[in-house]
Symmetry: C3
C-alpha cells in the first residue's frame, strides 16, 4: 500500500469565498503514483468546508445567500461562541451544512468524478492563511 | 490491496425520490471479495445524495417536506443558478443537506452497519438516468 | 494492509448531548499499529452524528439551539415518523445536518488533525446505550 500527503494553503480576500481546487487535487493524485485507491480532501480548520458541487457562478451566489439565511453572520451577539472574543460563530454552523471533507475514488490514476463534480474549498472566515489536507492511500 | 468499482444507475419516476440501495451495495462487497476495508458510495451527480438513515416511509416524507422548507423548488426564479436555463437550483442545495457520499466499513466480508442503518440514494432532480459510484478497497 | 475495528459505547444522560471522543479515537489509532492510512469514525445509530468541530462550550450551545430551530423536537406530531410510536423524528433530521461520519487521515501513527479539530459524538436521542464504530485501514 502506498500513501501520499499534501497540504494546500489558501488566503481568501473576503470573509466568505468558494475556491475550485479540483486541478490541485488532481496534481496530488498524479504525484502520488497511486492508480487505485481513495483520496481524502478535508479542511483542517473548523470554519471552512471541502465539498463537491458545480463550478457555476450563479450557484456559488445561491449557496452564499442560502447559508446567510440559515446561519446569519450578523448580529454576531446571537452566538454564544462569540463571547470568547470571536466573531465567527456563524462560520462554524455554515461549515456543518457544507461539510468538512470529501472522499473521492481514484481509478486508473485519476480522480473518479462524475461529469460535473468539482471539488471546492468553502471559506467562511477567511482573510488569513488556512489549509486543506489531501491524503491518498492505495496502490 | 484489492479494489473494486461498480456503477449503479437510476431513473426515478418523479423529480424527488429516495431509493434504498443497501442490497445492491452488499452485492458489490460480495463480488469484490474484500474482507476488511472501506466502501465508498457516492452520487456522481451534483443534484443527488447518498446518505444513511432509516427505511421508514414516514421519515422519507418528513425528509422531503423538510428539504422543501429549507430549499423550496418554487419559485424557480429565486435561484441565480436557474438563469442558466436550469430549474434545479434547489436540488443543488438539498443535496448539501443530505450529503454526497457515505463511507462504510467492510468487516468479515460484510458492510459493517448498525441495526437500522440503510444506504439511500436521494434524488432531487430525477426523471433521467443518473448514477452512483461504489468503490471498495481493502484485502 | 492492516485493519483495526473498535466500538465505542455511550449512554448520554440527556436527550441531546455532545461528547468529545478525540482521545478515545487516538487510542484506537495507537492500538491499531497503523502508521499511514485512513480512520473512519461513524455513528452506528441513525439519530446520532459523528462530526469534527471546536471543543468550546458556547459553540455546543449554539449548535444545540440552531438544530432546534432547523428541526424542533416539539410538537412531536409534526413528524410522520412519530406515527410509528417514536418521538425522535427531529433527531433523524438533526443528524443529517451534523453528518454520520468523519474520515481522518492517519500520518506517522497519529490522527492528522488541524489545530482545533476535535472529533465529537453528537447525540440527538440519548438516554440509552448507543455506539460509534472506529475502523482504521493502512500500514
Amino acid at each position: 500500500m502506498k500513501s501520499y500527503r499534501e497540504e494546500l494553503w489558501f488566503t481568501t480576500p473576503s470573509r466568505r469565498d468558494y475556491v475550485n481546487v479540483t486541478s490541485q487535487v488532481e496534481k496530488c493524485v498524479a504525484k502520488s503514483g497511486i492508480k487505485e485507491g481513495l483520496c481524502l480532501v478535508n479542511a483542517m480548520h473548523i470554519t471552512a468546508s471541502v465539498y463537491i458541487n458545480d463550478a457555476e457562478s450563479g450557484l456559488l451566489e445561491d449557496y452564499d445567500r442560502w447559508l446567510e439565511t440559515l446561519a446569519p453572520h450578523e448580529p454576531t451577539s446571537q452566538y454564544r461562541h462569540n463571547r470568547t472574543g470571536e466573531d465567527n460563530g456563524d462560520a462554524h454552523l455554515k461549515r456543518q451544512i457544507m461539510g468538512r471533507e470529501v472522499v473521492v475514488a481514484v481509478t486508473d490514476g485519476q480522480l473518479d468524478l462524475g461529469p460535473w463534480e468539482q471539488i471546492f474549498y468553502g471559506e467562511f472566515d477567511g482573510r488569513r492563511r488556512k489549509r486543506v489536507l489531501v491524503k491518498i492511500i492505495g496502490e
